[in-house]
């Protein structure tokens, strides 16, 4: 079971709600994925369009744990205020904390991130920080009270998979007891399986499903890959070797001559 901030979940897939062609497709994709946690955001509301009111109805219908994000925030202050608005709106202390440094890379501003995490954790939020693979940043986030860490795989929406697998392994080794979730940049189910095979606790994705040709099928594919990767990790993975080791024992095979075995 995945345990985050005292709540347990059977699914290790966290799914984003952005970019689907229709609300119905979003609903179907969430169902196909089996995800029990969905991310959401806040947007300026127009009195005429009232778009948010309809979306709220959909969110209530889905009945999942909601994880609001602070997308678009460029400073700790913006992220803190956004988190406070999200807490009131969505009725949860959970916050996916994003403080963004650059519009092209959408990379975390790690300094603002640590500052915001410090204040939000102190104010009773359950912070899930979207961070880089940097170990020193992770340590500061943990010291700031974060009990979950969410390092990126590669830039948001880039579908490139794991840009720095070694660093992700290092984080797993340094934080053996902290739930670790790779968030951002995954493109295909095999990326998600790779994450789980490293012993990570979960995967958060959005674009790879929402922008797939068939989001519902892709959601299902990711769900299976995440299960597969987790099963593999728990099963004990065979160590890679440089040379071959026969799987069929040589002694007793037809035409066997001892001289051949060297």
């Amino acid at each position: 079971m995945l345990e985050l901030y005292g709540s347990e979940f059977s699914s290790r897939m966290l799914l984003g709600t952005a970019g689907y062609a229709s609300p119905d497709l979003l609903r179907q994709a969430v169902e196909a994925s089996g995800a029990e946690i969905v991310t959401v955001s806040l947007r300026r509301e127009s009195a005429r369009a009232k778009t948010g009111q309809g979306f709220w109805g959909l969110i209530e219908e889905l009945g999942r744990q909601v994880l609001p994000n602070t997308a678009g925030c460029r400073s700790a202050k913006e992220a803190i205020t956004t988190a406070q608005m999200a807490r009131e709106l969505f009725g949860t202390n959970w916050i996916k904390l994003e403080v963004i440094a650059n519009d092209d890379t959408l990379q975390p501003d790690v300094f603002g991130l640590v500052e915001a995490a410090t204040e939000l954790n102190a104010d009773g939020f359950d912070v899930l920080p979207y961070t880089t693979e940097d170990l020193s940043v992770a340590e500061r986030l943990a010291a700031a009270g974060c009990e979950v860490l969410m390092p990126w795989g590669s830039p948001i929406g880039s579908a490139r998979g794991l840009a720095n697998k070694t660093a992700l392994k290092t984080l797993r080794a340094y934080f053996p007891d902290t739930p670790l979730i790779v968030d951002a940049g995954l493109g295909v189910p095999s990326h998600a399986a790779e994450v789980m095979e490293l012993g990570y606790d979960g995967v958060l994705l959005n674009t790879a499903v929402a922008k797939a040709g068939n989001p519902v099928a892709m959601a299902r594919g990711f769900a299976r890959a995440i299960e597969g990767g987790r099963l593999a990790y728990e099963a004990g993975i065979v160590e890679p070797r440089d040379m071959a080791t026969p799987s069929t024992p040589i002694a007793g095979t037809p035409f066997f001559k001892i001289d051949n075995a060297s």
């Binding site: 952005a18 970019g19 955001s41 509301e45 127009s46 005429r48 948010g52 608005m85 929406g157």
Partner: protein, 65 residues
């Protein structure tokens, strides 16, 4: 007075943030608010006065990744 609401200039004679939200059609709507970068709880809107050049954010739940 002239204020900014969601980045757009607006002229209003609303006395409080709550008055403003109602005047804009947000009565009983699922929204959250901030004034000059600081969160204002729903319960505090009625006693939050508005001043010239205030910057108001009115947000609602939306899709997000």
């Amino acid at each position: 007075m002239q204020i900014l609401v969601n980045g757009k200039r607006l002229t209003t004679d609303a006395n409080s943030l709550d008055d403003l939200c109602r005047a804009l059609g947000f009565t009983d709507a699922k929204i959250a608010t901030a004034v000059n970068g600081a969160f204002v709880a729903a319960t505090a809107r009625a006693r939050t006065p508005l001043t010239e050049a205030d910057e108001i954010e009115i947000v609602a739940p939306r899709q997000g990744g």
